[in-house]
Structure formats: C-alpha cells, structure tokens
C-alpha cells in the first residue's frame, strides 16, 4: 500500500513539476548576498533583480548576509529549498578561494546548481604617483633589490587581490610584504595618501585617482586588457607568466532545483545582461557583463578553483 502511495505521490510530483516551472515565479524571489551593501555582488544583484521584477512581475528581494567569510550567506544558499525562490550571488572568492583556505566548510561547489556568470570587474596593480616605479619591470627590480621590503595593499586576507600578489611573487621569484585593509576603499585611500607604495585594487576605485594624478597603473591583472582602459598593459604582457585574475560574480541556485527553473533563470539573466541599458549601468562602475550558461560557469569555477588552490598552498596563504 505504502509503495503504491509513494508511486502515486512521486508521479504527481513529476507531473506537477513542469506546471511549476511554467508558472514560476509565483512569489517573491530572494537573492542572498554574502557581502554588505555597496559591493559589486550587491549592486549586481540589485541591477539584475530590478530587471527580473520588470520581466516577471515578481518582487526580487536582495538579502545582504555579510560576514563569516561568506559562510553565512553561502551556507544558507546551499541549504535553501531548491525551488528557485532563494538564489545566491557569489563572487569568485566564495567559490574558488575560500574552499582552499578553510578545512571545514559549511558548503561546497556541488551543493549548488550554477545559473550563470554575471559581471566581471577588472583589477589593477597600482603604484603611488610619487614613487619611482613606472612599469612592472621597475617594481620587480625593486623587489629583487630588497626582498620583502615593498608593501602591497589589498582589500583583505584571502581576497582575489592578495592571490594576484602571491601569484605574481611566485611566478617571478620575488617577495613583497602584504598589507591587508578592511575593504577596497581604505586600501585605495592608503595608496593615494602614500602610506604604501603599491596596492591591488578594482580598476573602478583606481580610475579616478589615476585621473587626478595620485596613482599610476602598472598593469591590469587579467589576461586581456580591460575594455574600458585599453591603454593599461597586462601583467602577462610585462613578463609575469600565467597570472590572470579578475573579480567576477556568479548566480547560483541550490542543487536539486528543477532544471526547467534553472534554465528559465539562466535564459532571463543572460537576456538581461545583454540589454544595452544594463550593460551601460555596469560599465559605469567599470564592470563588464558576462552572460554564460550554467555549464560554462561550472567549468570556469572548477578550473579557477584548481588554479588558485595551488597558489594558496604554495604561498601558504592561511586564514589563521
């Protein structure tokens, strides 16, 4: 009897699913963000969320759950009901660096059903304009002359910015002193004020200071020059092998979310990210939109996580 019942119920569930995804969404969608308001993951969620509301007529609520190295939001996102009503906007750090840093993790990549990549913010290696360093070669020569005596600021321990620093140091056989700050803004201020000679910053926070003549960009950290500032050379073009990193964001659903819902979300988000006004909004902050499929995102995360784990281990980056 029980077996019959189970069969009937699961049959009903199977039958019900396509209906569900056709009518989805029927209630507000929540996007969990592991960061405080103002960061790129937050702003990306709000831009995309506003457009989803326009398209589907359902409210999209952005929930900032900052802290705990992203554990709180990412853990909640992984364990949320897989119905497409709780999504997570993560950054590359949450899925490719944090897992390499901590032994015990409240979530893993397999807990999520990837929807797609969203935005890509280029980063730059910048120097204070009053320092003598004009190119990456100057800087590396300086670092070789006095190993470990050149300070490089970053927005924090375990940030993608720090990874770029350690990656560069490993691949060029140099040593720097890493100075972590509480976020990008204080690091940019310290560099502009001349407290430190170098910092690795989001290109959007370095841009205005470069225009004002306080900072000088030595290199962008991606493999390709930034679309917004093609005049800045890459690290790779200046002899730093392999280093390729930027701060990108990605949208996730919990594992087990019906494929139809994930696909519907992916299609709509990709459509939104291709809209000229959305692109323009992101571009205002020096950020590109990078729509992708779930499979592409999955491959990118796996590749990046593998790459960065090696650097974390070799450079002995540790949260404690």
């Amino acid at each position: 009897m029980r077996m019959v019942l189970t069969a009937v119920v699961s049959g009903l569930v199977l039958l019900a699913q396509p209906v569900h995804s056709q009518t989805y969404p029927t209630k507000p969608i929540h996007i969990l963000v592991p960061y405080a308001p103002g960061g790129i993951a937050d702003i990306a969620s709000r831009i995309v969320g506003a457009k989803l509301t326009e398209a589907w007529g359902q409210q999209v609520v952005v929930e900032n759950r900052p802290g705990g190295n992203g554990f709180i939001a990412m853990g909640a996102g992984a364990k949320a009901a897989p119905d497409g009503y709780t999504l997570t906007m993560a950054t590359v750090g949450d899925v490719a660096i944090t897992p390499a840093l901590f032994k015990e993790m409240p979530y893993k990549w397999d807990d999520f059903a990837p929807i797609g990549t969203v935005s890509d913010a280029p980063m730059v290696w910048a120097a204070n304009a009053n320092t003598p360093y004009k190119t990456v070669a100057d800087m590396l020569a300086g670092a070789k002359a006095q190993p470990g005596r050149l300070s490089v600021g970053s927005p924090g321990n375990g940030s993608i910015n720090q990874i770029v620093l350690e990656w560069t140091a490993l691949n060029t056989g140099t040593q720097f002193q890493h100075i972590p700050y509480k976020g990008g803004a204080p690091a940019a201020a310290a560099l502009a004020g001349g407290d430190i000679p170098f910092a690795i910053l989001a290109s959007s926070s370095a841009g205005p200071q470069v225009k004002a003549g306080r900072l000088r960009v030595l290199a962008v950290t991606g493999a390709q020059p930034s679309k917004f500032n093609p005049e800045w050379p890459t690290l790779q073009s200046q002899g730093v092998k392999d280093v390729d990193a930027s701060n990108w964001t990605l949208l996730l659903a919990p594992k087990g979310t019906p494929k139809a819902i994930v696909d519907k979300l992916q299609a709509e988000v990709a459509k939104i990210l291709a809209m000229p006004d959305v692109k323009e909004r992101f571009a205002g902050g020096g950020v590109e939109t990078i729509p992708s499929t779930g499979a592409e995102l999955d491959a990118r995360v796996k590749k990046t996580a593998q790459q960065l784990a090696v650097i974390v281990e070799k450079a002995k980056i540790k949260p404690d």
């Binding site: 405080a36 308001p37 103002g38 937050d42 702003i43 709000r46 831009i47 969320g49 506003a50 952005v62 929930e63 900032n64 759950r65 900052p66 802290g67 705990g68 190295n69 554990f71 709180i72 853990g75 409240p106 005596r149 300070s151 924090g156 321990n157 375990g158 002193q177 100075i179 972590p180 700050y181 509480k182 976020g183 803004a185 204080p186 940019a188 201020a189 310290a190 502009a192 004020g193 001349g194 407290d195 430190i196 959007s204 926070s205 841009g207 205005p208 200071q209 225009k211 004002a212 323009e280 909004r281 571009a283 205002g284 902050g285 020096g286 540790k318 949260p319 404690d320």
Partner: protein, 499 residues
C-alpha cells in the same frame, strides 16, 4: 567670491521642484530610520538604490545624502527618550539626554538636539563649500601612525569621561577592547574568541552591545523599584527649550560644531570620536553650575551638534577624493557609478551641478529636518506619558527587532540577551558603560592601525613620534594621563566630577 557664486548656482539646482521633493523624501526617510534602531541608513540606501537608476545623478545623490544626515537627527530621539542609542554617535547623547527626559525635560532635550544639529549642519555645509579640497588633503595625511595616536588619545580621554572611579573606568575600557577584539583580525586573518561560531567571526554587533548596556539595563534597573510607577516624573514639562536653555548651550553648539567639522573628515570613526570629544570638552570647560551626567543641556547640545557637523563634513573625502568614509558613502559612490559618474577629484570641475547642488541641498535639507522634527517633539513627549508597565515591554520588543534587522540573524538576539546579563552585573558594580563602548569601537581600530604602521615601517617604533601629527596626539595623551595620575590634580578632578 567664486565660492559664493558657486553656492548660488548650487541653490539654483537644489531649489528645482524635483530636487526639493527628493531632498524631502530623503530627509523624511532618514528621520524615520534614525528613530528605528537597527534599520540604519545603510540598509535604507541599499533598498532605494534600484529606484535611483531612473533618476538623474543629482536628485539621486541629494535623496541618498538626505537619508544619511536625516538619520543623524532621528538617532538622538530614542537615545533621549528610552536610553537606546540607535547609532554609535548617539551613545554620548544618552548620558545627559536621557537624564533630562527622566527629569521631565525630554522636550527641551529633543529640541536642543534638533536646533544644535541645524546650526551645526548649516555651518558644516559652509565648511564643505569653502574648504573641501584642503581638508581632503589633510584627511589623506592621516596614515596608520596618526590614526593609532588619535585612538590612544581618545581612549585615555574616555577615562576622563567616566564619572566614578578611575580604576573602574580603565577596567571598562579594557573590557570594551577585549569585546571589540572578538572576530577576524584584519592583519592576519586569524579568528579570535570565535569558539567555532561562524556568527562570531565578524565580532559582536554594535547595536546589540549598545542596547544591552543602555536600553535593557536601564529598564531592568527601573523595574527594581516596585513602588515606582512613573520613571519620567509626573510633569512632562515644556516641549521646546527656553531662551535660557538656548543661551546656556549656544557656545556648546559652536564648539561641538567645530570639533565635529574637523574630526568628521577622517574616514572611519571620525564622527563617533567627534561626539565623544565634544562631550568631554564641554565637561572640562563648562562654567558652573555643572550637572553633567544628571541632565545638563550642554551635554546634549555639544555631541549632537558635533555628530551632525561630522555627518556633513564626512562627505568631503567622498566628493573630492572619491573615497567613502563609511558604508553609506560607499553605497552613494555605487549609485553614482551606476549613473556613469566616477566619483573623484574631477567631479567638482566636470559636474559642478552635482557638487554644488548637493552642498546647497544639505543646507535646505537641514532646514527641512528642523521643520520636520520640532513639531514631532510634542508627539514623542506624549509617548512618555504611557505608563511604564506598558512602555517597558515595548522597549524590549523594540530592542529585539532592532538587533534582528541589522543582519537578520537570530544569533544576535541571543547575543543581546547574554550581553544584557553582563551589562546588568556591571551596572550593579557601578561600572559605567560609556568607556566600555568607546573601548569596544576604538580598541580594535587602534590595534589594526598600530600593527599596520609597524608592518609598513618594518618594526620601527619611532614612526609614531617622527610624524608630527601623530606626535602631537601622543603628547596630548600623555598630558591627559598626567592629569589623571597626579594626586593633587586628581582631587580636583573628583570635585569637578561630583558637580
């Protein structure tokens, strides 16, 4: 002269119908979230961000700025009425503001807070208009060594701030520092006192701590007296400050404004230090009769003016350098970027309507806030007529909601409960909470800056003395320590404190 022309141009921008409406909306929302503890300006600005996409950059910025400084006006309301500081900068306001409320002078306290904020806002707006670029340069001169020395000075001053025993004040500052150290260390990434709880990796929330030590403890202490039915005196007294009140506090407002304008430009902690500094300064130099700690109106006027002046001048680093001095500012920069404007030094020259429009709107906004807040005082004071047996459960609920809404974590409510127990014990031991709060906020910043200064200078301690601004703060700190330590002076201090 050029500045006056620019200001007139800015007024033209700010006085357009559209901008006036958004300025009002911002100020109104700001007052509202300022009154509700927990829901701060950060969350409000974040929620309104998508709404600003459709506006031009000027109205968007004017509205978001209104929320920010409007919240400074609103924050004093709960501090005075029910002893709950909603924002860190209104902690000091509770000291004398709530005492005034208990003596039936809630109206004058709220009134002087609004009037002081208005005067401070107007003057600080002029400071922004005339001196923004040079002040921004000064802010950039503040490196880790300067911050460290400023914090040392602030912490030693916290001991002077305390009313009772010096030993207890020092102990409370140290306890505050220890509580502040809970969480992830910025320099090494190590999690301290975390006990494996992910919720503790970001430390103890300020709102929970302030509510435990002020709001909840106050209620419990009131409930100890079974026979006392009304906490707030039988007369509610006048609603607005008298001319005498205005005369007494006028120079306090001026001094608070000056301190707030200067300290406000320092990113991180500037506005908070300003309100503490203004209070201590008043306490030291005020002419008798002095009743600080028992409802002296100057103890409300000075810090409230300082925190509002600081709120206005904290726009300077953002507008002239593109560097946000707090999370709300970071969001405003986000809003501007979405509009295609990279905030930075060039905004002033390339988009003068934005800079001068905002500066002029601040003045208009302050006027709106005064007009909005003064009539509300009558309403707030009526609230105190509610019998205490009905009021105190409401305060409890209010505290819990406030703590919960910060990060939507149940854990924070447990935190509030346990901190309240600790706070009550300390209250029974006559240990004052104000030095603890200051230690909680300044201690970790002091540590972070000190270690950063040492790292950048490769362990060279002389950096703190070889940089002139830093050396000045340290000398002032030593002077203040002597003031406490020398017994003859100490006797004097006790006399001063008892008044």
């Amino acid at each position: 002269m050029e500045t006056l022309g620019n200001l007139a141009f800015g007024l033209g921008v700010a006085l357009s119908w559209q901008n006036l409406i958004y300025c009002f909306v911002g100020c109104f929302l700001g007052t509202l979230v300022g009154v509700l503890p927990g829901i701060g300006p950060v969350a409000t600005v974040a929620m309104l961000l998508p709404f600003t996409f459709g506006l031009g950059p000027a109205p968007a910025l004017i509205m978001l700025a209104g929320i920010y400084y409007g919240a400074q006006y609103g924050g004093s309301t709960t501090a005075i009425l029910v002893n709950i500081p909603g924002e860190s900068s209104s902690v000091v306001t509770t000291l004398d503001g709530h005492q005034m409320a208990r003596r039936g002078r809630a109206g004058p306290a709220l009134g002087i807070a609004a009037i002081g904020s208005f005067i401070a806002g107007c003057i600080a707006t002029l400071v922004v208009a005339f001196f923004a670029p040079p002040l921004a340069e000064l802010a950039l001169k503040f490196g880790p060594a300067e911050y460290f020395s400023l914090m040392v000075f602030g912490l030693i001053a916290a001991v002077v701030l305390a009313r009772g025993s010096v030993i207890k004040a020092i102990a409370m500052v140290c306890f505050g520092i220890l509580l502040g150290l809970v969480g992830t260390d910025v320099n090494s990434g190590t999690i301290r006192f975390g006990f494996g709880q992910p919720e503790l990796t970001d430390g103890i929330g300020f709102v929970a701590l302030a509510m435990a030590f002020f709001g909840i403890t106050d209620v419990v202490a009131n409930l100890e007296h079974k026979d006392r039915t009304d906490v707030y005196g039988d007369r509610l007294g006048r609603v607005l400050p008298s001319w005498e009140d205005m005369r007494v506090s006028f120079w306090s407002i001026m001094r608070g404004t000056a301190l707030g304008s200067i300290l406000g430009i320092l990113p991180g902690g500037g506005a908070l230090l300003a309100s503490f500094a203004a209070y201590m300064f008043e306490k030291k130099i005020a002419k008798p009769p002095r009743t600080f700690g028992e409802g002296d109106i100057r103890g409300v006027a000075a810090p409230e003016s300082a925190n509002n002046a600081g709120a206005q001048t904290s726009f300077i680093p953002m507008l002239t350098l593109g560097i946000p001095s707090n999370p709300t500012m970071a969001l405003m920069i986000g809003a501007l970027m979405i509009q295609g404007i990279a905030p930075g030094p060039q905004v002033m020259t390339e988009r003068p309507e934005l800079f001068w429009g905002l500066v002029a709107s601040m003045w208009i906004g302050n006027l709106m806030l005064l007009v909005l807040n003064l009539p509300l005082i009558g309403l707030w004071v009526q609230l105190l007529a509610v019998p205490y047996r009905l009021l105190y459960p409401a305060i409890f609920v209010f505290c819990c909601i406030g703590v919960f809404t910060v990060d939507a974590k149940i854990f924070d409510i447990y935190m509030l409960a346990s901190l309240s127990a600790v706070a009550y014990v300390l209250f029974k031991l006559d240990c004052e909470p104000a030095p603890l709060i200051l230690g909680f906020i300044l201690g970790p910043m002091m540590e972070e800056q000190m270690r950063r200064a040492m790292m950048i200078n490769f362990g060279d301690v002389t950096i703190f003395l070889s940089r002139p601004i830093s050396a000045c703060f340290l000398i002032a700190a030593v002077a203040m320590m002597l003031l406490i330590a020398i017994p003859s002076l100490r006797a004097k201090r006790e006399v001063a404190m008892q008044e």
